[in-house]
């Protein structure tokens, strides 16, 4: 094949593809990751899953800190295990927030730039600290920082060499809403600039706000993968929160309040929002109550966003 027959050869700068092919990982006889195949491209992807789903295990395999028991993990075609050269194009922010606390933020990020063998480590560190808005506290020792500041410093360190691939394990943990918002914007803009960003979370809203693409893993398996809206549609089929409208919302609310399966009710002009603690018994009990009270139900719409229901739904489906 000649160069002309190829569609304009992909320039190096647009690569940054992480591939998992039939990857499994077990610890003793615990299967933490079970036959996952996925491909990450530039842009922001959320890795969503409940506690113990295997998110950290997946991220660590991608980052070359764990050998897959089966399958292949590659970045731009190169295996990550026992291949330190990948770190030129890879940044990792671990869940465990260990930092060299005796260094200042600037010393720490500059040291990372030096170990990346960057040409101008000081300038790179300054740029990274600006990105995460840590220039104000950059001369303070990291051990004096709050959780959110440490987190941002670690992100700066992982970003200092502008890696094509950035992996973050639960990056929003311990951040206040403002810091969270800023971090989300940062991930967004990095994604827009063509970096491949993967971050894990067990909170759906976080993923919703940042990532267009979502990989959902439950109990070590890839339960769903793709566009956030598609996954959300799957999710709303198996809800715990309902919007209810009836001929007499107030009276219905009072009657429902006495029910065990009802965890909470809000009365609004447009109807009731009912939080059910038990999906099955609530849907059985509601028609009976309505009948007893002589109330007509106009509408019963699931509006749940709880992740648990997504997971159980996706698993069964």
């Amino acid at each position: 094949m000649t160069a002309q027959t190829l569609p304009a050869e992909t320039p190096a700068a647009t690569l940054g593809v992480v591939d998992l092919v039939n990857v499994s990982r077990w610890y003793g006889n615990v299967v933490a990751v079970n036959d996952i195949t996925m491909s990450l491209n530039p842009g922001v992807t959320g890795l969503l899953g409940p506690n113990g789903a295997g998110k950290t295990t997946v991220l660590h395999m991608m980052a070359g800190f764990l050998a897959p028991s089966r399958g292949m993990v590659t970045i731009d075609g190169k295996p990550t295990w026992r291949n330190p050269a990948v770190y030129r194009d890879l940044g990792l922010v671990t869940e465990r927030e260990a930092v060299h606390g005796f260094l200042t933020a600037r010393q720490f990020v500059t040291a990372c730039a030096r170990m990346q063998k960057l040409k101008d480590p000081e300038a790179a560190a300054q740029r990274a600290l600006e990105l995460v808005e840590m220039t104000g506290a950059a001369e303070r020792r990291i051990e004096t920082f709050s959780k959110g500041m440490r987190q941002r410093t670690r992100v700066a360190a992982a970003l200092v060499h502008e890696p094509r691939v950035l992996l973050l394990d639960e990056p929003f943990n311990g951040m206040d809403p403002r810091q969270r918002m800023h971090m989300m914007e940062l991930l967004h803009s990095l994604g827009d600039r063509g970096h491949t960003i993967l971050f894990s979370s067990h909170i759906l809203e976080e993923v919703e706000q940042v990532a267009g693409l979502v990989q959902v893993i439950v109990a070590g398996r890839l339960a769903a993968s793709g566009d956030y809206r598609k996954i959300r549609r799957l999710m709303t089929n198996r809800p715990h929160v309902f919007a209810v409208r009836s001929s007499d919302d107030r009276r219905l609310a009072v009657a429902l309040m006495a029910e065990k399966s009802v965890a909470g009710i809000e009365i609004e002009a447009t109807g009731l929002t009912v939080r059910a603690s038990d999906y099955g018994s609530f849907t059985r009990v509601l028609p009976r109550i309505a009948l007893d009270q002589g109330i007509r139900l106009h509408q019963l719409v699931p509006s749940d966003e709880s992740l648990e229901s997504v997971f159980s739904y996706l698993l069964e489906g």
């Binding site: 610890y27 660590h60 050998a67 030129r88 990792l92 260990a98 005796f102 990372c112 990346q116 063998k117």
Partner: protein, 236 residues
């Protein structure tokens, strides 16, 4: 100095356990000074202070504190990740850490041993102890660096090596003497400055060759282990 060595050294002296390095050398020199001041003959205290305390305890324990401090502590608290996520040959990381460990151990143990040797008799004995301690520092450092990567409790494993393997077994099972760094140190000292305090079961050649083997093998294994360094998920 490489950045890895810089961070390693800062980490070593930044932690409180660095203070553990002070008492033993001070005790060693202090005891020798006391004996000297009260004009006790070195024949009476030389063996106990130099061999039983200096070579059997101070040198290996200092090496253990430093050797596990340059790597084991970072593995333990997870900060090693920041060094490992860099495109650095694992060999260079180990060599940088090894250089810090071996040189700090050398300074902290060879200097007090030199002073003790001088106080006990001659500059020659002092010099012999310093040279031997340097060789010992290099071999012990490689071993304890390796322990930091093969065990989650490198300090414990190191203490077992020092107290049980070199200490206890050495007295009963003569074969272990050929595999004890402490014996090489004694042999080297005695060859440079013959003295009545030491019995040397290993030859100088054995001592030198074996020290080199410990040093090289420990380092090579450590490089290989670091290459497969794993970060498991959290058990829930």
């Amino acid at each position: 100095m490489s950045t890895v060595a810089f961070i390693t050294a800062r980490g070593l002296f930044g932690r409180r356990r660095a203070l553990l390095l002070l008492p033993l050398p001070i005790l060693l020199v202090g005891l020798a000074l006391l004996c000297r001041m009260y004009d006790v003959s070195p024949d009476m205290w030389g063996q106990a202070v130099i061999v039983a305390l200096g070579l059997a305890v101070v040198l290996p324990v200092v090496a253990l504190i430093v050797g596990t401090g340059v790597l084991g502590s970072e593995v333990d608290d997870g900060t090693i990740v920041h060094i490992l996520t860099k495109p650095l040959a694992r060999r260079d990381i180990i060599l940088a850490k090894y250089a810090v460990a071996a040189s700090v151990t050398t300074v902290v143990s060879a200097v007090p041993l030199f002073l003790t040797g001088v106080l006990a008799g001659s500059a020659r004995l002092g010099g012999a102890l310093a040279v031997a301690a340097t060789v010992g520092a290099f071999a012990y450092s490689a071993l304890f660096l390796l322990f930091s990567l093969v065990s989650r409790r490198p300090v414990l494993v190191g203490l077992v090596y020092i107290l049980v393997w070199e200490g206890l077994l050495g007295n009963f099972v003569s074969g272990t003497k050929n595999l004890a760094i402490g014996q090489y140190v004694i042999a080297i000292t005695d060859k440079i400055a013959p003295n009545g305090m030491m019995d040397t079961p290993v030859s100088l050649t054995t001592a030198i060759v074996m020290s080199a083997i410990f040093t090289v093998a420990g380092t090579v294994f450590a490089i290989n282990r670091l290459g497969s360094f794993s970060l498991a998920g959290e058990t829930s």
